[in-house]
């Protein structure tokens, strides 16, 4: 980001240090030459397109190289090939790229035009006029209406809503779907919508220069001699949408390219795959090799010219009396032209086409389409496909990625009885599936229809008026900070701070204890159809230390009661001795729940003595008005009253995993992919999810927990972990090697057994410090699974960078929220989960799909195939081009190193473009070793990709050797067979043209057969391509060598009659057969021996497939493993401090529609907007897509908390 700001600053002649502007004063503002609101994301216009585009294209090394070749070819002394051999491919490549660029740019023009021509009302000459967006200027006052996009970065002046508030949706900006509040200054708010007043407004703003910080703004407004500070709360940014606000006025501060949105839209760093990088190295090697070959040939030429050429001068005088050395110099360049095919220009084009094709497969895959959200998978980047087949590390977010961020009330234990399981008549516990019968809540008109419960016993207990059960649900209905909203009678909608709370309150609602509404000092619930109002005396709020929350209420009967819910360990410490027996039973239940990965809470209550309470309340009041030590005093008070509680039971909430997450993780870990979960959650929660999604397993030898609070502790814990994994420490020989630039690469260390690592947020902060990062990395990389808890977005990126820095491994980050963006951008490949939260993660990702489980298909099927195809393509492509080129090298020794080509020039031109292009493309688009079902069955097939086995420097070297052999066969066999031969009628067949034809035909047969050997999946298309290309070769050859073509252009088609006169000779065909056999022989032998002696995993699976001759049965569905673990989940409420004080303080106010029913009036002015931390917590049970665009924006939690300065305590 800073880089781009930097760039912007450079671009400007003088850096803007401070922005000054005056409202309604265009002349004054124009003097600063601020950008207008017109944006331009397009690069070209019709006139600049050709030069600019060409300039850009020739910046690519390959294109520049071919341009250089073209220049060489124009020099007659050097030109060994006609110009068209280079021009035809080059023009083709340039045209294809230019066409692509042009369509992209046309689209950008279109969207620019669309945006620039949007209308907005601008105050001009004291009147509101509808203007185009692009005509808006800095200092203009504009009027926005509901659901309109914000035109530019505005200073909010006034709005229709009370207190000059506006609501904006920032989804396009930061991906958060919840509404945010902005509030104008009172002094400007008083302007209202009076255009006269607004037109007279002449405030002067001084503020920061344009930048890309979305969350920060500093400036001052000077109006009528007064100075007012401006901050982010008064700014509307371009890209937001106005919601729930009839109108508002704003003063344009930044326009067009200077808006924060546009400043942020700088290109993200261009990602390249490791194959790309390898290819760059190889191309450099090839250049070196090319120079080497040319030098040898040039030296050869020099010697030849000295010995023989000088004597041959009588027949072929040298031009201008050049000497042998100069001739060698020219020959060098001539050979550079001839041998240029070792760096094939069409390689780059083909690679792009292959990647594009494989990206389309991802888009088209039905098995990665999620019907519920109507979301197909999307390859947003088309250049990274093969890297998907090489992933070694996956960094995953938890909430919304592994889990659905949906909490369901699953089980409970009430008074020693466990509810929630379903048993059949024999007493066997049944697995709960979609088809299990659900409990009918029709007796309760206020029940939430989406709530599902399967155990009928609990409803029976409620109906039987079991007092404990009633108390249990009453507690759930009373002890929380949820807000209820009733738009229509009986249609309740809960706004909970965390989904857990929502789930609990919804459960109580369905079981007949409906939380209906609240005021600051009362809670209304409908208890089994009967409306009751409890006086809310105190909320003892949740925080991370207390891990519990309590409410003190007075029932309509006048009984005082404290209800408490919290982490079981905490509650247990505060229970009355009398419930020790119940504690034991409940503990058992809790263990069972925890073992299933459920989040548990213990519930307890206590009847209070009126007198004691009054006294306590008095002290509480004193404490809360005290200035210093207020918090600790309050804590003490809370501690005092929350004791001798009576246990009611426990709840178990399922943090619903997405479908197929455990299976996916198991598959991926079988594929030797290491999965690190980076979550903002607490350690207990994260650990629990780790277990329930199979990341951590009971079978693991150990799971280390690092939670030290000082650097020394953390270091020690990491060391201990490592010693217990690998007792023999060989730190003296730390397996590392140094790459260039002094960056070390840490090799993987082998350990016996499987280990897991859980590291806490504060420990991670130490572990990521420079001195300890290696320690951390080594330990973490020895573990199978790593979970980092309480991680900030920045740390997520740091962890990814750490692994990228020291491990030569490909990383993938997957996440769904704005907090994952940093890590998605940092990793080699970023995957966004679409459809849950905002679009931010998806927008910055390379691939996106709707469900985590699609990741295994993306990697194990698409990634693997892409990698396989790309590697096969590259190996084959290098083979065919090297073979093609080396033949020239050998011929050099027979033609006096005179840079004479072996083949016809037309063959050289068309070889890569026509004769061999389609078969290899077909292979790279269709090839698959085994189909997807088998790929899933054998995730080990993925491992070769991680180890770069299919294409590496070694593989490349082997290719070159193979080519060398083939080219020798292809040159020397025809040479020996032809040099002394004549046709069957005695006429010439050893002439140059016949020899050229023979060699090129042999070559084409050899490379085609080689392709056939490479290809393991012959579809009809492949067969057609292969046969078609051969047929094409003969068709084109006969055409080019025909009378008509020759008579048309005698000098361009001199091979007249060669095909007819030599291809009818049996010895020609016998030569072709012999070269084909000799080219294929070693390949088949080598491969067959390899399969027999040391088969690779691919061979094994393919062997199995052949044996099975049918698709294997789908793997048996894994039943959920029940663990009887002592691991206890903690109080897994939201991450932030609760906002109980807001609920009780009365400093909130409802939306007008609701304020009436709650009987709560507007009594003051709002001071600040309230923005909850963390994720939006709109409680959504199952099935309701949160991202569904709702035309009328729902009331979100934000709007219900317009706080009011009116403390109660």
């Amino acid at each position: 980001m800073t880089f781009w700001t930097g760039m912007d600053c450079f671009r400007k002649k003088e850096r803007e240090l401070e922005r000054k502007l005056r409202a309604n004063d265009r002349e004054y503002n124009l003097s600063f030459k601020y950008a207008t609101n017109a944006i331009k994301t397009s690069k070209y216009n019709p006139f600049t397109f050709l030069p600019l585009n060409l300039f850009e294209q020739f910046q690519r090394i390959a294109n520049a190289y071919f341009l250089f070749l073209l220049v060489l070819q124009v020099i007659p002394q050097i030109s060994s090939l006609s110009w068209f051999t280079t021009v035809v491919p080059l023009v083709l490549v340039l045209t294809v790229t230019a066409a692509k660029d042009a369509t992209d740019d046309i689209n950008r023009h279109r969207s620019d035009n669309q945006v620039n021509n949007r209308k907005v009302q601008v105050l001009i000459d004291r009147k509101l006029r509808s203007e185009k967006w692009m005509d808006v200027q800095v200092g203009d006052i504009i009027r926005l209406e509901n659901n309109q996009f914000v035109t530019a970065d505005l200073l909010l002046l006034s709005s229709s809503e009370p207190l000059n508030l506006v609501y904006i949706e920032t989804a396009e900006l930061d991906g958060e779907t919840n509404l945010k509040v902005r509030q104008a200054l009172t002094v400007t708010g008083d302007l209202g919508e009076d255009s006269e007043k607004l037109a007279d407004f002449n405030g002067e703003v001084r503020c920061e220069p344009p930048n890309n910080r979305l969350d920060r703004f500093t400036g001052t407004l000077t109006y009528v001699g007064q100075k007012y500070p401006l901050d982010n709360e008064k700014i509307l940014l371009r890209g937001c949408t106005l919601r729930n606000t009839e109108w508002c006025f704003g003063l344009v501060l930044f326009a067009g390219p200077e808006t924060k949105l546009m400043q942020n839209s700088g290109k993200t760093t261009f990602k390249r795959t490791s194959i790309d990088r390898l290819m760059n190295v190889l191309v450099l090697c090839i250049f070196g090799f090319l120079a080497f070959m040319c030098t040898i040939l040039a030296i050869g030429n020099c010697i030849w010219e000295m010995n023989e050429g000088s004597q041959f001068m009588i027949f072929l005088p040298r031009q201008d009396g050049n000497n042998a050395a100069f001739s060698a110099f020219l020959t060098f360049w001539s050979y550079v032209i001839i041998l240029n095919t070792v760096v094939p220009i069409s390689l780059y084009v083909s690679v792009e086409i292959i990647r594009l094709g494989n990206s389309f497969y991802i888009d088209w895959d039905r098995k990665m389409y999620f019907a519920r959200y109507d979301t197909p998978a999307e390859a947003r980047t088309t250049t990274l496909n093969e890297e998907l087949g090489q992933i070694k590390y996956i960094f995953s977010d938890k909430t919304g990625t592994l889990t659905q961020n949906i909490m369901t009330f699953n089980k409970c234990s009430i008074n020693g009885k466990s509810y929630g399981d379903v048993y059949d008549y024999t007493g066997q516990r049944l697995e709960i599936t979609e088809h299990t019968e659900t409990v009918d809540f029709s007796f309760n008109p206020l029940a939430d229809p989406r709530f599902m419960f399967h155990d009928h016993a609990l409803v029976e207990a409620v109906k039987l008026e079991d007092p404990e059960v009633h108390a249990f649900f009453r507690l759930l209905a009373l002890c929380h900070t949820v807000m209820a909203e009733e738009k229509k009678e009986g249609e309740l909608f809960y706004q909970a701070q965390s989904p857990d709370e929502g789930a609990l309150v919804t459960a109580a609602r369905n079981f007949g204890f409906v939380f209906r509404s609240r005021t600051p000092d009362s809670v209304s619930i409908v208890e089994m159809g009967e409306q009751r109002s409890y006086e809310l005396l105190a909320i003892l709020d949740f925080n991370n230390v207390r891990k519990r929350m309590s409410v003190i209420v007075r029932s309509p009967e006048g009984k005082l009661c404290l209800y408490c819910k919290g982490a079981d360990t905490i509650i247990y410490e505060r229970l009355h001795q009398s419930c020790s027996k119940l504690m034991d039973v409940t503990t058992e239940h809790l263990n069972e729940f925890a073992g299933e990965g459920l989040r548990t809470l213990a519930l307890a209550y206590k009847n209070l003595d009126e007198e004691y309470f009054n006294q306590w309340k008095q002290r509480h009041h004193e404490a809360s008005t005290e200035l210093d030590n207020q918090e600790s005093k309050l804590d003490e008070l809370y501690e005092e009253i929350e004791k001798d509680l009576l246990l009611l039971g426990a709840t178990a909430i399922e943090d619903k995993l997405q479908d197929g997450v455990p299976q996916t993780i198991e598959q991926l870990s079988k594929a030797n992919i290491k999965i690190w979960v980076l979550t903002g959650d607490k350690q207990e929660t994260a650990e629990n999810i780790g277990y329930s999604c199979n990341l951590l397993r009971e079978e693991m030898n150990d799971v280390f927990i690092v939670s030290g609070n000082s650097p020394e502790d953390v270091r020690q814990e990491l060391r201990n972990a490592r010693t217990s994994m690998k007792p023999v420490e060989d730190s003296m020989f730390l397996p590392e090697r140094t790459l260039g630039k002094g960056v070390k690469v840490i090799a993987d260390e082998l350990v016996n057994g499987e280990y897991g690592l859980v590291i806490n947020g504060h420990s991670l902060a130490y572990a990521l410090e420079g001195s300890m990062e290696l320690e951390f990395l080594r330990t973490a990389c020895m573990c199978k699974a790593v979970i980092c808890c309480r991680v900030t977005p920045l740390q997520k990126a740091q962890v990814v960078e750490l692994v990228k820095k020291y491990k030569q491994a490909v990383t993938l980050a997957i996440g769904d929220g704005a907090n994952d963006v940093s890590m998605i951008k940092a990793a080699h490949i970023g995957v966004g989960i679409s459809g849950q939260e905002g679009m931010q993660a998806v927008l910055s990702s390379d691939y996106s799909f709707a469900q985590f489980r699609f990741l295994q298909r993306l990697l194990l099927v698409h990634g693997r195939w892409s990698y396989l195809r790309m590697c096969k393509f590259l190996r084959y492509f290098f083979y065919k081009n090297f073979t093609f080129t080396f033949v020239h090298f050998w011929y050099g020794f027979f033609c006096g190193f005179s840079a004479q080509t072996v083949y016809d020039e037309w063959f050289i031109t068309l070889y890569n473009l026509v004769y061999t292009a389609l078969p290899v493309l077909g292979m790279s688009l269709f090839d698959q070793d085994v189909n997807d079902v088998w790929s899933f069955q054998h995730p080990q097939l993925y491992i070769p990709g991680q180890l770069n086995l299919y294409f590496s420097k070694k593989a490349f070297f082997n290719c070159a050797l193979h080519s060398c052999y083939s080219s020798m066969v292809l040159f020397f066999i025809p040479y020996a067979a032809m040099h002394n031969t004549v046709r069957d009628d005695g006429k010439d067949v050893a002439d140059y043209q016949s020899f050229a034809l023979l060699t090129q035909t042999c070559l084409l047969f050899a490379v085609t057969i080689q392709l056939g050997l490479e290809m393991s999946y012959w579809t009809a298309v492949n067969t057609f391509f292969v046969m078609g290309s051969l047929a094409m070769y003969f068709a084109v050859t006969f055409t080019m060598y025909s009378n008509g073509m020759f008579l048309l252009l005698p000098s361009a088609f001199p091979f007249l009659g060669t095909a007819r006169n030599s291809l009818n000779q049996p010895n020609i065909w016998l030569t072709i057969l012999l070269t084909s056999i000799l080219c294929v022989l070693p390949v088949v032998t080598y491969r067959f021996l390899l399969i027999q002696l040391c088969p690779t995993i691919n061979d094994k699976v393919m062997f199995k497939v052949r044996r099975a001759k049918a698709t294997p049965a789908p793997p048996p569905l894994r039943t959920r493993i029940r663990r009887t673990s002592s691991r206890r989940s903690g109080y897994a409420f939201s991450h932030a401090q609760g906002y109980g004080h807001l609920v009780t303080s009365g400093r909130f106010l409802r939306r007008p529609a609701l304020s009436a029913s709650s009987g709560f009036a507007n009594i003051g002015r709002t001071t600040t907007g309230f923005s909850p931390m963390g994720r939006s917590a709109g409680y959504s049970p199952t099935g309701r897509p949160q991202n569904a665009k709702v035309p009328d924006v729902e009331v979100t939690s934000l709007q219900m908390y317009r706080t009011i300065r009116d403390p109660v305590f």
């Binding site: 041959f312 088209w364 109507d374 006429k987 140059y992 579809t1019 012999l1074």
Partner: protein, 353 residues
């Protein structure tokens, strides 16, 4: 890239369920198994063996006589004479005597061969104008720049045919005489026409259109190549239709050889009269050579080759031998592979994971 389709409804963006898009195209997946590879190898060994034997027999049935006449017989005088460029205009003839011990049966082909003459140098090969040789009038008077420095003569007249290739035409001529054991010496009749590719003679080389003009008139205003003694329209004094660009010897020469050692057809034995109806009978022969072509500049050799042919062409032993060697190689590898398969891969034990 999610394509916007015309569909609507809940599954509007669902991808098509086509075999192509879902990568389920039916396909044949071959694999290198013992069942296919081993029989294939044995079969190939057998085929190569049979081919090799057959070709060898065929090639053995041909006969070939090679005679290097560079300095042979009386030609050493001419050889010395040609060393000096100033003697280029002087004629020199010499004779070489050689025996044929076994009669050459059937059609006998007479070749001249050159060694170490690089007709395949790039600049040499390019130094010609196909447009001129196909009779384009503009090219006749204005030869392509590729012909440099043989485009124009000292007087500035365009050279026809231009270029280094035509300039360096092989200009020795031969007469072969048969000295039977009895009877007089008989000059061996050689057919000197029909020795080019049909396409060359009829399409690729044409004289400029001559609207009732003689060939000499057509070529008026052009010069003969520097090293030539006669202009192009007088190459064959015996047959006026074999002159100009369509002269057979010129066409044969213009088809450049791929390698520095090559032979080119000079004539075919005319088997109309005795004693040559069955070929060349055994006996002594002399070749009268008009020795013009200098080879000592490039350390070359000149030779004459007499050979009979089969469907397979001339006497080239390479292919038969190569096939036999390949056959043995394949057989060897096949046995090796069989052993490897038998010992290791037979039961698919190594295929277990």
């Amino acid at each position: 890239m999610g394509k916007v389709k015309g569909k609507s409804g809940p599954l509007a963006r669902r991808p098509d369920n086509s075999a192509f898009k879902q990568q389920r195209l039916p396909a044949w997946s071959p694999m290198l198994t013992a069942n296919t590879v081993l029989p294939f190898f044995y079969l190939m060994a057998l085929i190569c063996m049979l081919l090799g034997v057959w070709l060898l027999l065929t090639v053995q049935s041909t006969q070939e006589i090679k005679l290097d006449y560079t300095e042979a017989g009386t030609c050493d005088i001419c050889f010395e004479k040609r060393k000096n460029v100033s003697n280029a205009a002087q004629t020199c003839t010499c004779t070489v005597v050689f025996p044929i011990k076994k009669a050459l049966k059937g059609d006998v082909f007479f070749y001249y061969g050159l060694q170490n003459f690089h007709q395949n140098l790039r600049r040499y090969m390019d130094s010609r104008d196909d447009g001129q040789m196909v009779g384009r009038k503009t090219n006749l008077k204005n030869p392509s720049s590729y012909c440099e420095p043989f485009t124009k003569n000292q007087n500035g007249l365009p050279i026809a045919p231009c270029g280094a290739v035509a300039n360096s035409i092989f200009n020795d001529s031969f007469t072969l005489t048969y000295h039977g054991s009895s009877g007089p010496s008989i000059r061996v009749p050689l057919l000197r026409k029909g020795i080019t590719w049909y396409t060359d003679k009829n399409v690729k080389y044409r004289n400029p259109k001559n609207d009732n003009m003689t060939l000499a008139q057509v070529f008026e205003g052009t010069a003969q190549p520097l090293y030539w003694q006669k202009p192009v329209y007088e190459l064959d004094p015996l047959d006026p239709t074999n002159n100009g660009f369509i002269n057979d010897d010129l066409i044969v020469w213009m088809r450049e050889a791929a390698f520095p050692n090559f032979k080119k057809l000079y004539g075919v034995l005319y088997r109309a009269s005795q004693p040559f109806t069955k070929g060349l009978p055994a006996g002594n022969y002399t070749i009268n050579i008009s020795y013009n072509f200098p080879v000592q500049y490039f350390q070359g050799r000149k030779e004459v080759v007499l050979t009979t042919l089969t469907w397979f062409g001339g006497q080239n032993h390479f292919l038969p031998v190569a096939y036999l060697v390949t056959s043995c190689l394949i057989l060897l590898i096949a046995i090796l592979l069989t052993v490897a398969w038998w010992k290791f891969g037979k039961n698919g034990k190594r295929m277990e994971e």
